[in-house]
């Protein structure tokens, strides 16, 4: 289990490096991808679904929140703690929303994820925009949202695939 979270931490670090350097060249009308936020959203959503009935695992999710917030602030111009605080609030909101869902069908999981991702992305950018005095909800913002949604959906399926492979291997051990 700890190996999984170590891999997640490394993935977040790599995402922050790629976001600050490689993805800066791939912008759509000046909108770049926020890979750290995408990784955070995918991991937290998936872990909240998996640990829905296991509240004792929450401290590992908190660690993911703290690490993701730390790396989001590391390569940004903001002080340490801002992204951690926003991510923590978003995590609690996502956790509560998932807790109160009666049933989560595996088939439409992506719809639930995107329904959580879009408002979370909006909230994160709204807070950063207000702080940096650069909040604009215009066409460019919706292009940025669409760009990040595509990236998040791709990463969501990738994460799901890895998880299904891992689950398959675990089952084989018992046969």
């Amino acid at each position: 289990m700890w190996f999984k979270f170590l891999a997640i931490f490394l993935a977040i670090f790599l995402a922050s490096v790629v976001q600050a350097s490689f993805l800066a060249h791939f912008t759509i009308l000046g909108n770049s991808a926020n890979l750290v936020f995408v990784v955070f959203a995918v991991v937290i959503f998936y872990e909240c679904i998996l640990n829905r009935l296991w509240p004792r695992e929450f401290y590992k999710e908190i660690m993911v929140v703290v690490v993701a917030g730390f790396f989001a602030d590391l390569f940004s111009s903001f002080s340490f703690g801002l992204s951690i605080a926003i991510f923590l609030v978003l995590y609690l909101a996502i956790k509560t929303a998932i807790y109160f869902l009666k049933e989560i069908p595996d088939r439409y999981l992506i719809v639930y994820f995107l329904a959580v991702f879009a408002p979370s992305f909006f909230a994160y950018h709204a807070v950063l925009g207000i702080i940096s005095n650069n909040l604009r909800v215009n066409t460019a913002f919706f292009i940025a949202l669409a760009y990040n949604i595509v990236l998040a959906a791709a990463l969501f399926y990738f994460y799901k695939k890895i998880d299904s492979i891992k689950s398959g291997r675990q089952l084989k051990l018992f046969h």
Partner: protein
């Protein structure tokens, strides 16, 4: 002996619980107490976690400089390689996608060529002035010494670039950053030991005084303020309504703000927005800087304000 005493203590506690059952007469009360205790523990844990997190953030902010510097030193080789890989990949993809629009671009170029031919005669008169400006510009560059740096990262959301040199190399805050061709990029925002960040002139908080070098020789110098509109865009503001400006006019620094040297190239006017109801006219401008293709930049280290 300790084990025996511990066991005896546990038995006595169990007896006390049994007595409490009997005295209260119901088991429900016991479980209610347990639930309340558990709830108290939860509240206590949440408070401890929040206090711990606040302390963690305070410590991180206190050691922000060394932490960020260490992280950049560790990740600098990765940042540099990813930056170069991104630049070459985007160029390749850009040329791939632009293939389809080559015909449209060709016809546009023909039209533009005809217009340019008409302008040649008018421009001949300005050659002398341009030569003088070029000489002056060269003088500015030769009078100032610059530290060569490399761009290793970009936060386009906030128009902040990362450079691979910091206070160890003699960089301090507010130093101007230019290219080899005297194109202004911005000023140093934050300095760490081994790296620094640059607030580009397109940063939404950036504003600098500029001279508008009009094509008409007779007109007096026009001044305005270049403001950042975010996402690598700029616009010209606070131009007098009487001033005659047009698309294509060149913008250069005026040195009035005391941060940037005189005559650094900023951009050119794309379109003018004149409204008599407003006290000033504004203009859309295209910056000369291109942070994504810029590899080597110069930080002017000895500009005397």
């Amino acid at each position: 002996m300790k084990k025996v005493l511990g066991k005896a203590y546990q038995i006595s506690m169990d007896c006390q619980i049994c007595v409490s059952f009997l005295s209260r007469g119901t088991i429900d009360n016991y479980f209610m107490n347990l639930y309340a205790k558990k709830k108290n523990y939860f509240v206590r844990n949440v408070i401890i976690s929040l206090v711990g997190l606040a302390l963690f953030m305070a410590v991180m902010n206190f050691f922000e400089q060394p932490i960020k510097n260490a992280a950049h030193v560790v990740s600098a080789p990765m940042l540099k390689s990813f930056w170069q890989a991104g630049a070459s990949s985007s160029q390749f993809l850009g040329s791939f996608f632009s293939n389809g629009s080559l015909q449209a671009e060709s016809s546009n170029l023909k039209q533009e060529n005809a217009k340019l031919a008409a302008h040649v005669i008018a421009l001949q008169g300005l050659v002398r002035q341009t030569q003088t400006a070029a000489e002056f510009s060269q003088n500015v560059a030769s009078n100032l010494s610059g530290l060569q740096v490399q761009v290793i990262g970009l936060d386009e959301e906030h128009d902040i670039a990362t450079l691979n040199a910091g206070s160890a190399q003699g960089i301090v805050e507010n130093m101007p950053v230019v290219s080899g061709h005297n194109v202004l990029y911005g000023k140093i925002l934050k300095v760490y030991k081994n790296f620094s960040t640059v607030a580009l002139i397109s940063n939404s908080l950036s504003a600098l005084d500029v001279k508008i070098q009009t094509l008409e020789l007779t007109t007096s110098a026009v001044r305005g303020v270049i403001k950042g509109s975010g996402k690598l865009g700029i616009y010209l503001d606070l131009i007098s309504l009487n001033a005659s400006i047009q698309a294509g006019d060149i913008l250069a620094t005026s040195a009035l703000d005391g941060i940037y040297p005189k005559d650094l190239l900023v951009g050119k006017i794309v379109s003018v927005n004149k409204d008599d109801a407003k006290p000033f006219q504004t203009a859309s401008a295209q910056p000369f800087f291109d942070i994504k293709t810029a590899d080597n930049l110069f930080v002017i280290t000895d500009y005397k304000r």
